[in-house]
């Protein structure tokens, strides 16, 4: 395409265009794609290929780049923006436009956007920057590339920079793709602009392009169009720091970080093009996320704490074990004062409403004081737990990008070692902060129900852990749902052996006891320590994971008569965090004879959804999975039927006896996934609902049965099969301790394989007798039965079976010789 540039010189551009012949009558929207350095329009090939009707995709090679003309001029940022305007004018792009840009194409596209506001409908940016954040050095890799001798050698004389960029992809690019990126830059002549482009990065004040870039950075805040930021967090050049800067400038932006993707995020994230087009389709359709539900405003999260401090100042709010085996007791008055002082002090130390604070503190008095102080300020608490592992915590905190980190020494060591973001506040400074707080005359203004309260993380048993955002009103409603459903009153007291919920005691206005255990490992909770924690607060409620139950029951023999008597105060034992087996529930019921044993069903995104007693489970017998009971009051549960490929495509339905994804709607569900726009979009594709990723069925009594995870559904030629029903049936065989049902073979034509743990059988193929008994018990055409010593489980709860890993193992074994 040839046109005259702003200086009146005729120039020739290389352009990819879905509508090259000018037949643009049906075009409703144009995606204007702007590549960076040193790539070319090839970067956008899959977007062009996937573009739906009504959308024109135009991808331009900058002058001196790709297959566009080599001009022998030095083209600065301002001129490149003008060049792009020349191209769009010449191509007749005069209707609505969404700009799409990568790398240094970002500032150029934004410059074009600011100059064409009347046409602009949206902005999409991939790993780019418009501003060097204050106090942060420029990426060392770019500074190095900018130093004069290196610049020449690196960018022009040799193809190092060029090849380096394709190496900045997280997955190694196929050779053909890497070659295609390099194709227009075969000689030093053709590469010269790569060096010029790098030189034009205004790292220092006074640079000829600095004022243009600063103006763009300042002005994009005024663009009130929707924005989408798609990010490869492993980019050594455009790190998360630049993402955070852009989020500050474009607060309306939807954000998706593709965990594991690097600089060439569009190459590394296979779903990116689809996600981008979904976003554009939503934009065209005017789809909006869920309206805040019209429920009345709830009580603030600290209101019960305020009340108890007034009504019962010397009553116990918290009991935690000390290192010498005694108990440290914190009264309501003391907790209330600590929260108040810390809130003032943290505010004085620069923790503001809207900030995120990562809290790496074990359950106890410090944790409670910090969490409630943050909530009172309006800061959001980022909660990780050790179960995520070092790698998981690293990813989680990088993703959540907290402004502050408050940590115990062990947590601080980790934060330093991983060079995690955020201002660091060791817990040892909390007394000083409280003293500072005592000099502050007033508390900051309290946050409203829509302020962000919590970022929690999923266990990551199916992929990287996802951050889950709750606003204050959603945490309030979680509190209210628990209070109403379990009839919690101030006379109750909680033994909090389940870390995520150890902080809710004050919100519920009930005393909490933290058992003497390593909270990172529920298996360290002994029966004696459990009894002691019940005794110290006359506990009425227990909330613990199945691993903790296993440990308590395994050490119950060491309990004294006093210990056993102490358990008599319990009225309710709740097992949660992972499916709890009936055997464990019965064991706890025997140990705590006056307590009702229940197990709530829910997930990090909505808790609780439903709830069932051990009696109901026994009464129901075998069914299509694990019985999780009736949905709670105010919680809607629907089923989205699976198709033959195991995808939940069905409309939300309350039909019974249909296997599908469990979809829930509750006042207390998450606000959204954090910086995972596409994940959130998929999970809430029915606005206001949450797709749980579990599969199950509803029965005629309105009860929900869970058949497993959607990712673990086996897609046979006769339709999808959920594993749990078969596993439960097989586990009734006396010689089988544990069973996992998995699929082998390609999607849609898989066969069932049952893997059992049995002390009576050798590892490998089961013998003919066991095979036949398992097949008969399963009531399905099981292709093979395999025996293992144990089944792999998740790190966090040690009870979620990793069926994906088992399936891979079984598939390899049954393929025979490889």
């Amino acid at each position: 395409m040839t046109a005259r540039d702003a200086d009146g010189v005729s120039r020739t551009w290389h352009v990819l265009d879905t509508h090259p012949d000018g037949s643009v009558d049906d075009v409703e929207l144009t995606l204007l794609c702007v590549h960076g350095n040193p790539t070319w329009s090839y970067l956008w090939r899959r977007l062009l290929a996937a573009a739906p009707s009504g959308i024109r995709v135009v991808a331009v090679d900058h002058l001196d780049m790709g297959y566009s003309e080599r001009t022998d001029t030095v083209r600065r940022l301002g001129q490149r923006i003008e060049d792009l305007s020349v191209v769009t004018a010449a191509l007749g792009v005069d209707g609505p436009v969404v700009t799409v840009a990568h790398d240094w194409g970002g500032p150029i596209s934004l410059g074009w956007a600011l100059a064409h506001r009347e046409q602009l409908r949206g902005i999409v940016l991939l790993n780019t920057a418009v501003h060097q954040p204050e106090g942060a050095p420029a990426p060392s890799i770019i500074r190095l590339a900018r130093s004069a001798p290196v610049l020449q050698a690196n960018t022009v004389t040799t193809p190092a920079f060029l090849r380096g960029t394709t190496l900045l992809s997280g997955t190694s690019l196929p050779r053909s793709v890497a070659d295609a990126f390099a194709a227009p830059y075969a000689t030093a002549d053709r590469r010269s602009a790569i060096g010029a482009f790098v030189s034009d990065i205004p790292l220092e004040p006074g640079h000829p392009s600095a004022s243009t870039l600063d103006a763009i950075a300042a002005d994009i805040g005024g663009l009130d169009v929707p924005a989408l930021l798609l990010w490869g967090p492993g980019d050594p050049v455009f790190s998360d720091r630049y993402l955070n800067d852009l989020i500050g400038r474009l607060p309306q932006a939807d954000v998706h970080r593709y965990e594991g993707a690097r600089h060439l995020v569009i190459e590394d994230a296979p779903s990116l093009v689809d996600d981008l087009l979904t976003w554009v389709a939503d934009l065209r359709a005017g789809r909006t996320s869920a309206e805040p539900s019209p429920h009345s405003e709830g009580e603030p999260l600290w209101s019960a704490l305020d009340e108890r401090a007034l009504d019962d100042p010397s009553g116990i709010a918290l009991a935690e074990p000390t290192t010498d085996g005694a108990w440290r007791k914190v009264t309501w008055d003391l907790l209330h004062r600590n929260v108040d002082l810390l809130a003032r002090g943290l505010a004085a130390r620069g923790v503001h409403r809207g900030d995120r604070v990562a809290v790496l503190i074990t359950p106890g008095a410090d944790l409670l004081a910090v969490v409630y102080a943050c909530w009172r300020i309006g800061a959001s608490v980022v909660v990780t737990d050790a179960g995520l592992g070092v790698r998981g915590i690293h990813r989680a905190l990088r993703g959540a990008a907290p402004q502050h980190v408050i940590a115990i020494p062990r947590g601080m060591t980790l934060v330093r070692a991983l060079r995690l973001p955020g201002r660091r506040i060791p817990v040892s400074e909390l007394p000083a902060i409280a003293r500072l707080g005592s000099t502050m005359s007033s508390l900051p203004q309290a946050p409203g129900p829509d302020d962000e309260a919590v970022v929690a993380f999923t266990s990551g048993s199916t992929g990287p852990a996802k951050g889950v955002v709750y606003r204050h009103r959603q945490v309030q409603r979680t509190r209210d749902a628990l209070r109403e459903h379990y009839a919690i009153t101030p006379r109750d007291s909680l033994v909090a052996a389940f870390a995520p919920w150890a902080v809710l005691g004050p919100a519920l206005g009930i005393a909490s006891a933290i058992p003497d255990m390593d909270v990172t490992s529920p298996r360290t909770l002994t029966a004696r320590a459990f009894a002691a924690s019940v005794r110290v607060v006359d506990g009425t409620l227990v909330w613990a994971s199945p691993a903790a139950f296993t440990s308590i029951l395994g050490s119950a023999g060491g309990m004294s008569d006093d210990d056993l008597a102490a358990l008599g105060s319990l009225r309710l034992v709740l097992g949660a965090g992972a499916p709890v087996s009936p055997a464990l529930l019965h064991g706890m019921a025997r140990l705590c004879p006056r307590a009702e044993v229940r197990t709530p069903y829910g997930m990090t995104e909505v808790l609780p959804v439903a709830d069932v007693t051990i009696g109901e489970i026994d009464g129901a017998g075998l069914g299509p999975g694990v019985l999780v009971g009736h949905p709670l009051e105010g919680v809607d549960v629907r089923i989205s039927e699976l198709d033959s490929s195991g995808t939940a495509v069905g409309p939300l339905s309350d039909r019974t006896g249909v296997l599908g994804e469990v979809v829930v709607r509750a006042p207390h569900q998450k606000d959204r996934y954090d910086r995972l726009w596409a994940t959130e979009r998929a999970s809430s594709r029915e606005t206001g609902w949450h797709r749980t990723g579990d599969v199950g069925e509803l029965d005629d009594a309105g009860r929900l049965w869970i058949g497993g995870r959607l990712a673990h559904v086996i897609t046979t030629a006769d339709g999808p099969v959920a594993p749990v029903r078969i596993e439960q049936a097989v586990e009734l065989l006396p010689e089988v301790e544990q069973a996992a049902c998995v699929g082998v073979g390609p999607m849609g034509t898989q066969h069932l394989v049952v893997v059992v743990v049995s002390a009576k059988a050798a590892g490998g193929l089961a013998d003919l007798g066991l095979t036949e008994r398992v097949r008969r018990a399963a009531g399905a055409d099981v292709a093979a039965v395999l025996v293992r010593n144990d089944l792999p489980v998740d790190v966090r709860h040690r009870s979620k079976i990793d069926r994906t890993a088992i399936s891979r193992w079984a598939g390899d074994m049954l393929a025979g010789r490889s």
Binding site: A717, G748, T749, L765, L768, A783, A784, A815, G816, R817
Partner: protein, 324 residues
């Protein structure tokens, strides 16, 4: 329809003749020695390699099911080519000359594969260059030629049943049963490879369905693998067949590498000594028994509107009854 069945004497041939007769077809068979199918079946004795015999047998027929083939793990290429390729050419020529409108060519899944593990694979085109061994290569050439004759006058479909077994089988079942009785059964590796098999009645019904539906676009010109759709491990199959035939399950295992080497040696010994029977093991068989091969049956079941009526358990019970 008036149907000619070539190779009507074998396990699958006999079952196919029964199935077609039961469906009301008028059946003629062509094979080298009498099969004893009964009064309603006309038997012609002759060889498919004799073009004149085949042409005469096809005269007046509406359809042909072409089963006759040389099935062996060993043997000279010229023999496979003469019977499997030449025989098929004779059948195709006879069909044209006699105005036959439907041909179901019975083939083998081995025509499309080179010995890699097959895990839920679809029916892919035959490939003589990749097919392993003289049998598979000759069947691949024959299938391609047969399908190339699909046209306006003649509808051709290739059906590839995988490891057909049932009472009276002298090949797979007979050999396992014999060795089981002698206590000589040995498993290669741990016998964990998943393998599809086809109970004989199911294969016969699939052939009859293919004949009925031969003119449909989803059947004509296509090759379809037919199995029970119930893969089992080699260890279980061998063990259950041994049990059903009253013998002992295999207790000994040999590593795959040993088995393959032994098979290769036995093949050479057999070739040099000019023996006509089959060696107890060949390298190809060792590979087959140590490698998964099972198939995606969705396309086949939809195209033929067919599902196996006899499950593996039921088939084994019938096998057991035949030995009782």
């Amino acid at each position: 329809m008036r149907v000619l069945v070539t190779g009507g004497r074998g396990l699958l041939g006999s079952a196919t003749v029964r199935e077609l007769t039961a469906r009301g077809h008028e059946v003629t068979t062509l094979q080298r020695s009498p099969a004893g199918h009964g009064p309603e079946v006309r038997e012609i004795l002759g060889d498919v390699t004799d073009a004149g015999v085949v042409r005469a047998a096809a005269e007046g027929r509406d359809a042909i099911v072409h089963l006759a083939a040389l099935v062996s793990m060993v043997g000279a290429w010229s023999e496979f080519e003469r019977v499997n390729v030449g025989g098929t050419r004779n059948v195709l020529a006879a069909a044209s000359a006699a105005g036959v409108t439907r041909l179901v060519h019975v083939s083998s899944p081995s025509v499309a594969h080179a010995g890699e593990p097959l895990v839920g694979v679809a029916s892919t085109p035959a490939d003589p260059d990749r097919a392993r061994g003289n049998y598979a290569r000759s069947k691949a050439i024959a299938e391609l030629e047969a399908l190339s004759h699909d046209g306006e006058a003649l509808a051709v479909s290739a059906i590839r049943p995988h490891l057909v077994w049932g009472p009276g089988d002298t090949q797979l079942i007979g050999r396992i049963a014999e060795r089981a009785r002698q206590g000589r059964l040995v498993l290669i590796d741990d016998g964990a490879a998943l393998i599809d098999t086809t109970y004989v009645d199911n294969a016969a019904e699939a052939l009859a369905q293919a004949l009925d539906r031969c003119t449909r676009p989803e059947v004509r010109g296509r090759a379809l693998v037919v199995t029970n759709g119930q893969p089992r491990t080699v260890a279980e199959l061998v063990g259950r067949i041994a049990e059903a035939s009253g013998g002992a399950s295999p207790r000994r295992h040999v590593p795959f590498s040993v088995a393959r080497t032994a098979g290769a040696v036995l093949e050479r010994v057999w070739a040099r000594s000019g023996r006509e029977d089959e060696p107890p093991l060949t390298a190809f068989v060792a590979e087959q028994l140590a490698t998964a091969h099972w198939f995606d049956q969705r396309e086949t079941r939809a195209a033929l509107d067919w599902r196996p009526s006899v499950g593996i358990e039921e088939g084994l019970a019938r096998l057991g009854a035949s030995y009782a």
